[in-house]
């Protein structure tokens, strides 16, 4: 079997991992990294590979699980987005000291832009802090190639290796040759050595010394040496150093402009090769193009001769687009640059889908506590801000602890605003539980609404621990959210379907009253994500709502307060209009119109 395929960067990464003997892959979904593990699963099925692929409850658990496999001598990998690496920072820092036996790759996907993240942080800086080598691919093809090199590097020095793709690697597709993977499976063979694997601080000092010695050798490792990708190594005058997607963009532009400046591509962003640092010292003027921070730049010896992110020559903020690369190369090389005319229009804001159960939950919360403080979390439901029902979004799991923080902050005020916290089911499992326990012990008066749509929706419908299916879609043990909430010590737990809006509002009112005297009240809003539902099932539950033309006075309340994409104002009739192409028949809007103009068809 040898086929040409249009491979997504994340699929190419998965292919690179498996082709090079990865036997365990763990991940927690997060854009732009999510498709890596899904691709591992589909390649495993397609090529009949006997390997383990797992969606973990969070990045820390994913990391530690995969790491143990590498301690036992297998080749393993863990994948996450850059802010996921914050969650896994603890095992990352420690595991680099302890090292590995089998090759271990930590994939942390960065998101310059940011397109779908809360920060533009550069994972390579995290690699500098943790002191592990990091490779920086420029394309899907190179991501697959570097997966092989990373495993070899990892085993040669018994050290975890980071692979850092960015959004434009993860979510680009490239035509690539794909061959059937034949795997020779290793047997796990954990060699006990408490002085290493369970090292006490005294031994850690020794491990740190050994780590520094490893890094010095890795800065001389042949396969990851910087590559001269254009021009000749003049050793004087100007040079351009490129890494990651900026390297791909720069190559196109250098070729188009016929530039005679030597261009070096760094694939191992840290540690930068010692010989390369010396070689660069011979040039008088060096441009460094990389994302998102100047990690390669800061390792060059004479900063006065370097132009990059850290010197302000390249903006430290936002994505380094090809037009920025062109403009900066022209400025560096003294060429004219004509900026094209661009008229940027304000884009459409993203919104919850028509029929999304979260919309009903948010509408109800806003109804019950119009002047409340609404702490929320990371997921589709962040878009509840469009309905005025999300005031804070910080990081995974933060909404619950922040709810506690707000109630405490207002203790001495004359009036205490009601505090409602919303969190998705996957995020609750990921990092909501410790915060919930904390608020029980402190008897914090707030309502927690767990938005349980039975999936990790935003990132592409990966299972949660409550789904009862694993990464491959096979049945597995499901844990029960109400049982967990009960186990945390909460005594008010009610589950309801937000589609039944009046009943749901009543439960929220009850929860609000309860929490004032008794501490946390938890309401579980249960309704599956429509994108994840069977089409026939959706069709069967469709309830047709129509506009009663005699009643609708065109006040626009439903359009602005309920914000369903299927509802809009008809300019001609000056009444509300339901788009049949978008309406999912949830019928929640029939409870929303204050005049009763949105009615179920047979009740008109």
């Amino acid at each position: 079997m040898n086929t040409k395929r249009l491979m997504l960067g994340n699929e190419a990464l998965a292919y690179g991992l498996l082709k090079n003997g990865c036997q365990m892959a763990c991940a927690y979904p997060g854009t732009p990294s999510s498709e890596i593990l899904s691709a591992v699963v589909s390649l495993k099925k397609e090529m009949d590979l006997n390997i383990h692929a797992q969606w973990a409850v969070n990045e820390k658990v994913a990391f530690e699980t995969a790491y143990a496999g590498a301690q036992a001598g297998l080749r393993t990998a863990v994948a996450m987005k850059q802010v996921g690496l914050n969650v896994a920072a603890d095992p990352l820092m420690s595991s680099v000291y302890l090292g590995v036996k089998g090759g271990f790759i930590v994939i942390s996907a960065d998101d310059p832009g940011p397109h779908s993240s809360q920060t533009e942080q550069d994972s390579r800086l995290m690699a500098v802090m943790a002191k592990l080598p990091v490779l920086d691919p420029d394309s899907p093809g190179q991501a697959a190639e570097l997966a092989g090199i990373a495993f070899e590097l990892s085993e040669a020095f018994e050290i975890p290796v980071m692979l850092r793709p960015t959004t434009r690697v993860c979510h680009s597709r490239q035509s690539m040759d794909v061959k059937k993977i034949e795997m020779t499976l290793r047997q796990a063979a954990f060699e006990k050595n408490p002085g290493r694997w369970a090292a006490t601080p005294k031994f850690r000092l020794q491990l740190h010394k050994e780590l520094e010695a490893k890094l010095a050798k890795i800065a001389d490792y042949e396969p990851t040496r910087p590559r001269l990708v254009s021009g000749t190594a003049a050793g004087t005058g100007q040079a351009i150093v490129v890494a990651g997607v900026a390297a791909a963009n720069a190559r196109d532009i250098i070729k188009e402009k016929n530039l005679d400046i030597p261009v070096y591509q760094v694939v191992q962003a840290f540690p930068l090769h010692k010989a390369f640092i010396d070689e660069m010292d011979a040039y008088d003027d060096i441009l460094v193009l990389e994302e998102t921070w100047g990690v390669v730049e800061m390792q060059l010896a004479d900063k006065k001769r370097v132009k990059g992110k850290n010197t302000g020559f390249i903006s430290p903020v936002g994505e380094l687009l090809p037009e920025n690369v062109e403009e900066r190369i022209c400025a560096f090389a003294g060429l004219d640059y004509q900026a094209p005319q661009i008229t940027m229009l304000p884009g459409r804001r993203p919104t919850l889908c028509a029929g999304c159960p979260h919309r009903a939950s948010f509408y109800a919360i806003k109804k019950v506590a119009p002047k409340g403080i609404f702490t929320s979390d990371i997921g589709c439901y962040t878009l509840g801000c469009n309905l005025g029902a999300v005031d804070t979004v910080t990081c995974m799991g933060a909404g619950i602890s922040q709810a506690a923080g707000f109630t405490i902050a207002y203790t001495e005020n004359e009036k205490q605003p009601p505090v409602f916290s919303t969190i998705g089911d996957s995020t609750f499992f990921h990092s909501g539980i410790p915060g919930l326990i904390e608020t029980v012990t402190k008897k914090i008066p707030y309502v927690l609404v767990i938005l349980d749509n039975r999936t990790t929706a935003m990132t592409g419908h990966q299972p949660t621990p409550a789904s009862g299916r694993d990464a491959a879609g096979d049945p597995c043990i499901a844990v029960n959210i109400p049982d967990i909430v009960k186990g945390c010590g909460v005594n008010f737990i009610k589950t309801a379907d937000p589609y039944d809006l009046p009943a749901f509002i009543d439960i929220l009112k009850e929860a609000k009253a309860y929490c004032q005297e008794n501490g946390p009240a938890v309401v579980i809003a249960e309704h599956p994500c429509l994108l994840d539902m069977d089409r026939a099932e959706l069709k069967a539950s469709f309830k047709k709502v129509v506009v009663n033309r005699d009643v609708c006075d065109g006040c626009g309340y439903c359009v602005s307060r309920f914000e369903c994409p299927a509802l809009s104002m008809d300019q001609e009739t000056e009444q509300v209009r339901i788009d049949p192409g978008l309406c999912t028949g949830c019928a929640v809007c029939s409870f929303v119109c204050p005049k009763g103009a949105l009615v179920l068809e047979n009740q008109e």
Binding site: L6, P32, I342, R348
Partner: protein
């Protein structure tokens, strides 16, 4: 005629921008041309403006610079307004719109793909109708998108669902006819 092609496909989240990008890419690959694409994932897919880039030929970087694209496929009139700046002067744009779209700087052709999709019984398939419209408009400019390679690929892709393949192919053809009749 050049086979180095840079195409922008623009629409709203959920309209099937990725689907037609993959079809076009597949058609070019079937003719052994190197392909690079780049797409939007995550939050913007929830009803926001979605763009994908398709580059065929000798390229390293996946994105397209403003004022360099050969063509733009706009699945909404507003998508044209948003992303026309990617087109090179005189570049080709096809726009899904009931009303004619005009812009002196480019060669713009518009058609009501929505009506074709509705007539075919699936209002959500205007993306495929628009792809057919584009194939009609682009056929004299490049041989990178061979309609025969595309139909072969669609049949292969939906091997298990011949009815779906037939629907997709019918819509493609009616999109091409819509261009011819404009």
């Amino acid at each position: 005629m050049s086979n180095n092609q840079q195409i922008i496909i623009s629409g709203l989240g959920g309209q099937g921008v990725l689907f037609i990008t993959k079809l076009l890419a597949g058609a070019a690959m079937a003719d052994n041309l190197p392909v690079l694409t780049s797409e939007t994932h995550g939050m913007a897919q929830r009803g926001g403006n979605v763009i994908s880039y398709l580059k065929i030929g000798d390229f390293s970087g996946p994105l397209i610079r403003p004022a360099t694209a050969d063509a733009l496929i706009a699945l909404k009139a507003e998508s044209f307004a948003h992303h026309a700046y990617f087109l090179k002067p005189g570049g080709l744009a096809v726009v899904n719109s009931l009303d004619p779209v005009k812009d002196a700087g480019y060669r713009v052709f518009s058609g009501d793909a929505g009506a074709l999709a509705e007539a075919a019984g699936n209002v959500r398939s205007e993306n495929v109708a628009m792809l057919g419209f584009f194939l009609g408009a682009v056929k004299d400019e490049t041989s990178a998108f061979n309609p025969d390679s595309l139909s072969r690929m669609i049949k292969e892709k939906f091997q298990a669902k011949p009815a779906v393949a037939a629907n997709v192919l019918r819509l493609l053809t009616s999109g091409m006819q819509l261009y011819e009749k404009r």
